[in-house]
């Protein structure tokens, strides 16, 4: 089974801090994704990566950056944390397909981040 591991289940940081959320997958998947999930808003895509050293902005990239130096690891960076970035963050991976994706996304269990 695919395993997507997020480094922390719960994290508390202070405003202005630089925050790193780490995600590792063990199935050699090319595609990786970061979402945030908020009550009443559902899941929103922050960034995704088609492969190593590649990144694409999602719907809400402002205030975030990402790093994909190795295929198995996709990091989400909050450059200067703010209280409105308090949320549940979900990482996912997917095997690359030739055309339109018929592959499922595999999710980690999330990191619940609180910015005080």
């Amino acid at each position: 089974d695919v395993k997507v591991t997020q480094s922390s289940r719960y994290l508390v940081k202070r405003t202005g801090e630089k925050v790193f959320l780490e995600c590792v997958q063990d199935m050699d998947h090319e595609n990786m994704f970061w979402y945030r999930q908020d009550p009443g808003l559902g899941l929103r895509l922050i960034y995704f990566s088609y492969d190593v050293k590649m990144k694409e902005k999602g719907d809400i990239p402002e205030g975030y950056s990402v790093s994909r130096e190795k295929k198995e690891r996709f990091s989400l960076i909050l450059e200067s944390a703010s209280t409105n970035q308090t949320s549940m963050y979900l990482c996912a991976s997917r095997k690359k397909t030739g055309g339109a994706s018929n592959q499922p996304q595999h999710f980690g269990d999330g990191t619940r981040l609180s910015i005080l």
């Binding site: 979402y35 559902g42 895509l45 996912a92 339109a100 018929n102 996304q105 980690g108």
Partner: protein, 111 residues
């Protein structure tokens, strides 16, 4: 928008009853996927239906797709308390980029 919209937002049923959730979308799709999320956990892929399929089964799950109406439904038969979760649909267009999820349907199954 590629986003799917689930309906109803919330559904409460008794164990043994069937649960039906609907999904509507706006663009042409290549396939549509359904996911489940237990409280405090990540999403788990349930089933994928391709645009040329009308119905698909997996255990107690039955998914239908009507591309002319741009809608899909997920039926869970003989529900159990363990089916309590949020359910999301994700329509995938030809470009097949990242999945865009709606707000989901929250299903509560009481014993």
């Amino acid at each position: 928008s590629q986003q799917g919209e689930e309906d109803p937002q919330a559904l409460s049923i008794q164990e043994g009853e069937n649960a039906t959730m609907n999904c509507s979308y706006k663009t042409s799709i290549n396939n549509l996927q359904w996911y489940r999320q237990n409280s405090g956990r990540g999403l788990v892929h349930l089933i994928l239906i391709r645009s040329n399929e009308r119905e698909k089964h997996s255990g107690r799950l039955r998914v239908t797709l009507d591309t002319s109406k741009k809608s899909s439904s997920l039926l869970i038969t003989a529900s159990r308390a363990a089916d309590t979760a949020s359910y999301f649909c994700a329509p995938i267009n030809q470009a097949g980029t990242a999945l865009i999820f709606g707000k989901g349907t929250t299903l509560s199954v009481s014993s």
